[in-house]
C-alpha cells in the first residue's frame, strides 16, 4: 500500500496534475463501468437460462435458480440459420478488406509521394464522400444497381442488385475515403530518401510501391484491417437495401428478419445477440491495440 501510494505521489509531482480525492473518482468510475457493463452482463445471464424458468408465470427474469445451460445458443444457431449467414459475411468481408486496403494504399502512395497538388484534391473528394450519410445516395444507387450488368459467377441474375458482389463494391467505394486518408498521412512520415534510393536502384513506381512502401506500412494496414473488419461485419444497412434473397444476407443484416421470431423469447434473443456480437468482441479484445490505433490514426495525425 505504502509503496503504491508513494509511487502515485511521485507521479503527481512529476506530472504536476492536481488530484481529486481518489475514492470519489473511483466510486464514479466503478458506477459508470457497472452501468455500462449491465446490458451485456444481463444478456449473458438471460441467455444461459431456459425460457420456462423465466418467462410466463415462472419465477421471472430478475431471479436466480432454475437451470443454466447453453440450449438457447444451440437453438439460436440452428433456428436462425446462423452458419449460412456467417458464410455470407465471410464472402463479403474478406474480398472487401483485401480490395479496400489494396486500392487505398495505391492511392495513398501515389498522392502522398508523387504529387502533392493531386493529394489535396483527392483527399478532399474521398473524405467528403466518406462522410456523406448513405441515404443521400441511395435513391439513384438503387436504380444503378438494378441497371448495371454483371457476368457470372459474380452475379447469378446478371445485375448488381441482390448480389454479394454489389455489397463488396459499395463498401469499397465508401471505405476507400477513410483508409486513403489514414494511409497517406502514414506515408508522409516515411522519409523521402527511401523513394530516391529505389529510383537510383532502377525500381519502377510499381516495384517501389509493392516491395518498399507497402511492407513499411504494415502496422497501419494491420490497424485499418482490424477496424474495417468490424465496420463491414457490423454493416446492417447495405444488406437490407441491396439484397433481397433471404439466404444471401450477411449475419448482421439477417438480424432484421429474425427480430419477429426472436422478440417473443428474450432468452433466445439474448443468445442470438451474443453469438452475432462474439466475432467483433473477440477481435476487439485480441487486437485492442490495433483497433484503437486504427481509430486514432485517422483523427490525430495530419
Amino acid at each position: 500500500m505504502t509503496a503504491t501510494s508513494a509511487a502515485v505521489g511521485a507521479r503527481e509531482v512529476v506530472t504536476g496534475r492536481r488530484r481529486r480525492p481518489h475514492y470519489l473518482t473511483h466510486a464514479f468510475l466503478i458506477f459508470m463501468s457497472l452501468l455500462w457493463f449491465l446490458p451485456l452482463g444481463w444478456a449473458v445471464y438471460t441467455s444461459l437460462r431456459p425460457y420456462g424458468d423465466t418467462g410466463g408465470n415462472s419465477r421471472g427474469y430478475f431471479s436466480v435458480g432454475g437451470a443454466y445451460n447453453l440450449n438457447n445458443f444451440f437453438n439460436a444457431w440452428n433456428q436462425a440459420d446462423l452458419p449460412l449467414h456467417f458464410l455470407q459475411t465471410i464472402l463479403v468481408v474478406v474480398p472487401a478488406l483485401i480490395l479496400i486496403l489494396f486500392f487505398s494504399s495505391m492511392v495513398a502512395v501515389a498522392v502522398s509521394r508523387y504529387s502533392f497538388r493531386l493529394n489535396l484534391a483527392m483527399l478532399m473528394l474521398f473524405t467528403a464522400g466518406n462522410l456523406l450519410p448513405q441515404q443521400v445516395v441511395i435513391v439513384p444507387l438503387f436504380r444503378l444497381y438494378l441497371a448495371l450488368p454483371m457476368f457470372a459467377p459474380l452475379s447469378d441474375n446478371g445485375m448488381w442488385y441482390d448480389q454479394l458482389f454489389g455489397i463488396v463494391m459499395i463498401h469499397l467505394a465508401f471505405q476507400l475515403g477513410f483508409c486513403t486518408f489514414v494511409l497517406s498521412n502514414y506515408f508522409k512520415q516515411v522519409p523521402k530518401e527511401i523513394n530516391e534510393a529505389a529510383v537510383v536502384d532502377g525500381a519502377t513506381v510499381w516495384r517501389t510501391y509493392r516491395s518498399v512502401l507497402l511492407p513499411l506500412a504494415r502496422p497501419a494496414l494491420a490497424a485499418l484491417a482490424t477496424l474495417e473488419f468490424t465496420w463491414i461485419y457490423n454493416d446492417f444497412f447495405w444488406g437490407i437495401l441491396l439484397l433481397r434473397s433471404g439466404d444471401k444476407f450477411p449475419v448482421t443484416s439477417a438480424l432484421n428478419n429474425l427480430s419477429g421470431q426472436f422478440f417473443t423469447d428474450n432468452n433466445l434473443l439474448a443468445a442470438g445477440s451474443l453469438i452475432v456480437a462474439l466475432p467483433t468482441l473477440i477481435v476487439y479484445f485480441a487486437l485492442q491495440k490495433h483497433f484503437v490505433a486504427g481509430l486514432t490514426l485517422g483523427s490525430t495525425k495530419g
Binding site: R11, L40, A173, F236, F237, S299
Partner: protein, 332 residues
Amino acid sequence: MDSSPGPPIAPPASAGGAFAPLLTRRRRKRFSVLTRRDKLTLGLMVGIPAFIHIFLIWLPAIGSIVLSFTSWNGIGGLDRIKFIGFRNYENLFSNYPPFWPAFENNLIWLAVFLFIATPLGMLMAVILDQNIRGTRIYQSVLYMPVVLSLAIVGFIAQLMYSPGMGFINNFLQAVTGDPKWVTSGTAIDWLGTPGLNFAAVLVAASWRHVGYIMVLYLAGLKSVDNTLREAAAIDGASGRQTFFRVVFPVLAPINVVVLVVTIIESLRAFDIVYIINKGLNGLGLLSVLITNNILGEASLIGFGSAMAVILLLISIGPIIYYLARTMGREAE
C-alpha cells in the same frame, strides 16, 4: 501506438508534382526519372479507385439532386423523367405528415449526442487520462459497446426494455414486489409508447456513442505536451483552469473531429430504430423515410430524392467545415 503526430512531412510546394510536367510542359529535374510506364502506373493507381468512388458515391449524390426536381416512378426508361421544379419539396413540406416529426427526431438526436453523450465521453476521457489505477479496465468496459453494431444494440435494448421480459420492468417488480410492472396492460411499454420509445432509443445509442468519443479524445489528450500542464500548475492554475484554458484549446484538431463525428453519426442513425420497429410509431428519422420510399410498394423516386437532398443540405455544412479545418492544416 505513437500518437504524438509531429509535423507532417509535406513536400515543398515548389517541387510541383509528378503530373506537373504533363500539365505545364516544364520538365523538372526531380521527376525526369519517371518513365512513361511509371506515369501510366501512377495514373492507374489513382484512376481506378477514384473511378469506383466517384461512380458509386458522387454520381448518385448528384443524381439525387437532379432527380429531386423530377417525377419518375422508376418504371420505363429515363426518357419518362419529367422536370416538375420544386413540387417535390412543396409536397414534402406541406403534404407529407411523417416528414416534420422525422426531421424533429433527427434534431433531437443531434442535440442529445452533442450536449449529453459527447460531453460525457470527453469527461470520461479526461478522468481516465490521469494515472488512475485500473484505467485500462475502465476504458475497456466503456469502449465495449462501440464494437457492437447498432442492430445488436437494438436487440440488447429489447432485452432491457421489453415490457414483460426486460430487465427494467422485472427489476422494478422484484424491488417493489408489485406485479403490475410486468403485467401486460399495466407494464410500461418502453419501446412501444411514442415519445418514450425515442428517449429509450437515445439512451441505448448513447451507450455506444460515449465510448467512441472517449477513445478519440483519449488519443488526443495523450498527444498533449505534458510541459504545458506543468507550466500551468507552476503558474498556480487549478485542474479545471488547466483543462479549459490550456488543454482544451490545444486540442482544437481533435475537437473538430469529435464534433463532425457526432453530427454525422446523428444524421446516419438508422439501424437501431429500423430493427426495433422499422422506424414507425414515433421512431421516424429522415434516413428511415428515404429507405422506406425505396423498399416500399410505391417508390416515388423524385420525392425520395428530395428527402435525400434535405439530408445532404444538413450534412454538407459540417463536411465542408471539417475539410477546411483538416485539409487547411494539410496545405500549410
